[in-house]
Amino acid sequence: MNYYSLNKLAPIASFKEAVVKGLAPDKGLYFPEHISKLPDSFFQNIDKLSYNEIAFEVIKLFVVPEIPEEDLKLIIEETLCFDFPIVPISDQISSLELFHGPTMAFKDVGARFMSRCLGYFNADNTKDITVLVATSGDTGGAVANGFLGVKGVKVVILYPSGKVSDIQEKQLTTLGKNIKALEVDGVFDDCQDMVKRAF
C-alpha cells in the first residue's frame, strides 16, 4: 500500500517510508491511497475467526508485502497479548475495555504494533532511529513500554510538566534503557509543536 501526504506537496510513500518518517516532508499526515471493503465472507465468518486472524485480515491490505505475511502474523501475535472485553452497563450501553495491556491504556495496541514494525524495518540497519513523541498523558507510557529494549530504536518522550497524573509520569520516566523523558514547561500542544518542528 502507498500513502500520500494530506498536504499533497510530498512524494507518495511506501508503508515503510510512512512509518519511518512518521510525518511527510511537507508536514502532512500520511493517508492510504486505497481503502477497499473486506469481502462479505469475512463478516459472515467473523464468529469463527480468532482476534489474531481478524487483525491480520483487517491490516494486511495496508502493510503487506512490505512486511511479509508471516512476519506480520508474528507482529500481531506480540501486539495482541491481552484481552478486549465488552462489559454490559445497561441493556443499551456497553463499555469496551481497552486497558488490559501492559500500561493499561488503549495506546498499548498502537505502540506495540508500531515498535515491532519499526524494529522489522530497522533490523539490518546500523544507524539508530530516534522516535520522538509528545504525550498528553497516556501515549508516553505506552510508547515507552512498547519500545523498551527494541533494538536500533531510541525513544525521546516530551510531556507537559505538572499536567499528567503521578502514575502516568512514573510510567514514562522510570524505564531507562533506550527511553528518555523530557519534562516541558507548557501544555500538550507545545510539546506536539516542538515534535513537529524537529523533523
Binding site: 512518521g22 491504556a105 513523541v133 501515549t139 497524573s165 502514575i167 524537529a198 523533523f199
Partner: protein, 241 residues
C-alpha cells in the same frame, strides 16, 4: 509564529544528523491497528445487538478516526459520537462548520486536553471534505468536569462500574445519544484503567482502588526526566546524543 500554529519548516540541522520518526497517533503504524478493537467489539456484540454506535472519548482523534476506517472496510457501525471534554473544537465545528483551534483547557480527562486535534484532517479526508456526509456519521458533545464526576458516581453507585474520567465522558455522550436514538446500542470506549487517574476517581466515588500489578510495579521506581522549556533545548538535547 503562533504558539499554537503548526511550524512548517524542516529542521535540517537535526534531520541531517539523526534519523527521526514520530510515535504519536499521526504515525500510520500507530493509527491503523486501532481499527482492530472496533472489529473485536463487533464480534462480541453483533448477535445480540443491531445498530451499534461507538461513543469515543476524543482528544487527538486518532481512535475515532481508526473506527471510521474500520467502517470504510465494511464494519457495520451505525454512527460515531466524539465525546469531548471542555476542549471542544470538533463539537463546535459540527455545530457551526467553523474549525477554530483553541488553546488547551486543563481538565480531569487530561489525555483529551487537545486544542488542535491532529487526526481531524484524516477524518475530513475519509468523508472527502463533505460536511453533510460527515455530520451523517459523526456527532459530538462536550462535557465539563463537574458532570463528568457525576457520571463517575452514577456508573459506580447505579451500575457498580468504576470508569475513568475519559470513559465517563464517553458514557455521558452515549446516554445523550440514546435519548434521541433509543433503537441503538452504544459502546463507549474505556480507554484507560481508572487507577491511572487515581486522585480524581477515588475522591469522586469515595472508595479506595487497588493498584493493578502493572501499575504497582512502577510506583516505587525513581523518576528520571530532563526539564526543558524551549525548542532550542530540545534541539540541543537531540544533537548532543
Amino acid at each position: 509564529m503562533s504558539r499554537y500554529g503548526k511550524t512548517r519548516f524542516l529542521d535540517s540541522e537535526i534531520t541531517d544528523k539523526i534519523q527521526i520518526t514520530s510515535a504519536n497517533s499521526i504515525n500510520v503504524a500507530r493509527w491503523l491497528p486501532q481499527m482492530f478493537y472496533f472489529f473485536f467489539a463487533y464480534k462480541q456484540l453483533h448477535k445480540q445487538h443491531k445498530n451499534i454506535v461507538f461513543s469515543v472519548p476524543s482528544g487527538n482523534f486518532g481512535n475515532i478516526c481508526a473506527g471510521m476506517m474500520a467502517q470504510q472496510l465494511g464494519l457495520p457501525i451505525q454512527h460515531f459520537i466524539a465525546a469531548n471534554n471542555s476542549n471542544k473544537v470538533v463539537t463546535t465545528y459540527l455545530e457551526t462548520e467553523q474549525y477554530q483551534p483553541k488553546p488547551t483547557i486543563a481538565t480531569i480527562s487530561n489525555a483529551m486536553d487537545v486544542g488542535n486535534p491532529s487526526n481531524f484532517v484524516r477524518i475530513q479526508e475519509i468523508y472527502k471534505h463533505n460536511f453533510a456526509d460527515l455530520k451523517q456519521n459523526l456527532s459530538s458533545k462536550s462535557y465539563g468536569d463537574n458532570i463528568t464526576k457525576e457520571a463517575l458516581k452514577t456508573l459506580y453507585y447505579d451500575y457498580s462500574y468504576i470508569a475513568d474520567p475519559h470513559g465517563a465522558v464517553g458514557y455521558l455522550a452515549a446516554v445523550d445519544y440514546l435519548k434521541e436514538h433509543p433503537d441503538s446500542h452504544c459502546v463507549f470506549l474505556e480507554t484507560a484503567h481508572p487507577t491511572k487517574f487515581l486522585d480524581v476517581v477515588e475522591d469522586t466515588i469515595r472508595e479506595n482502588i487497588d493498584l493493578p500489578p502493572q501499575i504497582a510495579s512502577v510506583m516505587d521506581k525513581k523518576k528520571k526526566a530532563i526539564h526543558i522549556s524551549s525548542y532550542d533545548e530540545l534541539k540541543a538535547f537531540l544533537l548532543s546524543k
